[in-house]
Symmetry: C2
Subunit: 118 residues, 2 copies
Amino acid sequence: MERIPILRMGNLLLVTIQVDMHDRLAMTLQDDLTARIVKDKARGVLIDISALDIVDSFIGRMISNTAAMAKILDASTVVVGMQPAVAITLVELGLKLEGVKTALNVEQGIKLLQRRED
Amino acid sequence: MERIPILRMGNLLLVTIQVDMHDRLAMTLQDDLTARIVKDKARGVLIDISALDIVDSFIGRMISNTAAMAKILDASTVVVGMQPAVAITLVELGLKLEGVKTALNVEQGIKLLQRRED
């Protein structure tokens, strides 16, 4: 599979990361996502990482960069579904998901984004 | 990755299939999904297959079986995001997604499931 699907829900976009990220896939995702934010006039992006057991510096940077791109296009990014072990590793490795908000799950993430709209 | 994440949205569950299915992954998904339907008291299941370029008889049967299991647990299943080429192939191969409703995208699928609730 060469693309990560982007699902639209109202004025939000949902991306579920399930596969190991590599350079090209990350770039394709960023291209697709920025295009979709503009096309769908999205105000928020939810990135679900519940399937990821490991978030290394590459994925962390990819998520931060994606959030930065979304922000320029006036969309907020929320990372949802982070596993406890991933949170521990991020802190232990000193990795920061800069410019990214987090929420426990998709529902909480949607609420967070909708609050920001009000 | 050994699991396909199941996302909860209200009383609906969303599954995005992005990776090649094999026996064990399909069984894990069915176990997880039936458990989640009961735990979350879900009334509907959305299966997004927009990332799939090919739906063969194995995946078709897996989707039908999953829908049948969900139905016994009183949850309706809607397949969303089918690519045009997949629809063509399904018909040409004579594969039927029995017991499964389809919708163009997640939003339409949510509307379809909510109509059934009313």
